[in-house]
């Protein structure tokens, strides 16, 4: 990799940068208890909670993208159903 003049970078290059390695706690969603309100996805600062449409159901499934989730815990803090648990990462 070369650094460009002025360190200007093309769009979408942040996708190559897996910030999930920064995490020391991972959010784990209890899908049984989840009300599918989507607040966790709304508040995620890194857009790392994806809504996955479910055939035959009117509300999507919310799934954490661990490639980019930094483990800030905002989703767990804001979840009205208290169904997101922050679990320590182990190496």
């Amino acid at each position: 990799m070369k650094v460009s003049m002025g360190a200007v970078v093309e769009g979408r290059t942040s996708l190559n940068y897996k910030t999930g390695s920064w995490r020391d706690e991972r959010p784990v969603i209890d899908q049984e208890a989840c009300k599918r309100c989507g607040i966790c996805a709304d508040v995620c600062p890194d857009s790392s909670i994806k809504a996955i449409e479910q055939p035959g159901r009117d509300k999507p499934l919310y799934v954490v993208d661990y490639d980019y989730c930094k483990g800030c815990g905002l989703c767990a803090h804001e979840c009205p159903a208290k169904c997101i648990e922050m679990v320590a990462e182990e190496k």
């Binding site: 002025g6 360190a7 093309e10």
Partner: protein, 400 residues
């Protein structure tokens, strides 16, 4: 000697700068008034209002915004310009450092004025010198004519695809900006041929989004910093070439990164920059008439620092007296520090004495020049370098 001016008019130095900027066809000008810079942007405002200059003229609410507008405009690929002084330059500082890293080649006139506190509107170079580490190219001029020519050169230097750095043309307030001298203009057609439209390497484009000024991890930060320094090193030769190319259309040649005045056989060489060089040259002429072998190196480009050219010129001298109107509190003057650092460990180098003169507009006249030359000789005869810079005409009785 300079040829007889062809299109010369007797005009104010600020007007000369405005005319030079206008002939370079800047697409964006940002402006915030501060003495003694104000007449420059006022003259440009008039040119735009009269329809003689097609440029987006942005009036902003602070110098921070003036620099920010410049950075944004330059990032879109627009040739951009502003001017400021003193506290205004200090307020721009954060943006100027950021613009260097993003390689934004705008041109800025740094009209030299002392820095508060105490408040002073008189000249010294503490304002622009405080920006020496930012990574901007810094040119200094002696006269309004040199200011005119330096601005035309500045855009070409800044926009060189291997440089792409802001260039600050530094000129003393009042003595240059508010005095009237004959200034010769270069024809628009000649400038257009010399300075084609700016072709940016990168530019902001909504259809192809890019990230500017992004975060850099430690594994590339040093390389990005070094690339700016590397551009500075390359710029040394490029600036000389641009000056030479311009001199072919202007008929005026001031030299390259430095001008050596009567240095050939000089035992004492003074080093200075800015308008005071005119006074020093007159002082040297009188000393020469009295048989004293004194010369002057006028620094025309301070960043990058042209130490190779300086070392070559001072090699035969016995002593070098730097006369500078700036000071790094707790250390010495900026030029003295730069020069001593480059001389260190070189055998046979002349003694360098740092003389602090002219802070806050303190008068520097031909007597000062004679005094500095005599002191330099005296210190050299004693054979010991001074532990501290020598503050010329400092009245210790006034100290609190």
């Amino acid at each position: 000697m300079a040829p007889v001016p062809r299109n010369a008019q007797v005009i104010e130095g600020s007007e000369a700068v405005a005319q030079a900027v206008a002939v370079c066809r800047p697409e964006v000008i940002s402006a915030y008034p501060i003495s003694p810079q104000t007449h420059i942007v006022e003259a440009l405002a008039r040119l735009v209002a009269d329809g003689r200059l097609a440029s987006e003229y942005v009036r902003v609410e602070s110098e921070f915004s003036a620099a920010s507008v410049l950075a944004g405009a330059s990032a879109t690929g627009a040739r951009s310009y502003t001017a400021s002084s003193s506290q205004g330059l200090l307020l721009m500082t954060e943006v100027l450092y950021a613009s260097v890293g993003q390689r934004l080649p705008f041109v800025l006139t740094g009209v030299n004025r002392s820095v508060s506190s105490p408040i002073s509107i008189q000249i010294d170079q503490r304002d622009t010198m405080s920006l020496r580490d930012a990574g901007m190219i810094q040119l200094y001029v002696e006269s309004s004519q040199e200011a005119y020519d330096a601005h035309v050169a500045a855009f070409k230097i800044a926009e060189d695809p291997r440089i792409l750095l802001p260039v600050m043309v530094c000129m003393d307030g009042w003595v240059l900006t508010h005095s009237y001298e004959p200034v010769d203009f270069i024809d628009q057609a000649a400038v257009d041929a010399f300075l084609p439209p700016f072709k940016p390497v990168n530019f902001l484009d909504p259809s192809q989004p890019k990230t500017w000024g992004s975060y850099a991890e430690p594994d590339i930060q040093m390389e990005i910093n070094y690339s700016v320094h590397d551009a500075m090193l390359y710029a040394k030769q490029r600036i000389k070439d641009v000056f030479a190319e311009l001199s072919r259309i202007s008929g005026r040649d001031y030299g390259g990164l430095i001008e050596a005045y009567r240095c050939q056989d000089a035992e004492v060489i003074l080093i200075a920059l800015g308008s005071v060089c005119g006074t020093i040259k007159d002082g040297i002429d009188e000393l020469r008439d009295r048989g004293q072998k004194v010369g002057l190196i006028k620094i025309r480009c301070y960043r990058p620092f042209p130490y190779e050219d300086i070392l070559e010129t001072i090699r035969p001298a016995k002593v070098v007296g730097v006369m500078e109107a700036n000071f790094s509190m707790g250390s010495e003057g900026a030029i003295g520090l730069d020069l001593k650092a480059k001389l260190c460990n070189r055998p046979g180098a002349p003694l360098v004495i740092d003389f602090i003169t002219g802070l806050g507009g303190r008068e520097v006249n031909k007597d000062t020049v004679a005094q500095v030359a005599a002191k330099a000789r005296e210190f050299a005869a004693a054979g010991q370098p001074l532990a501290e810079a020598y503050w010329v005409d400092l009245n210790r009785e006034l100290l609190p």
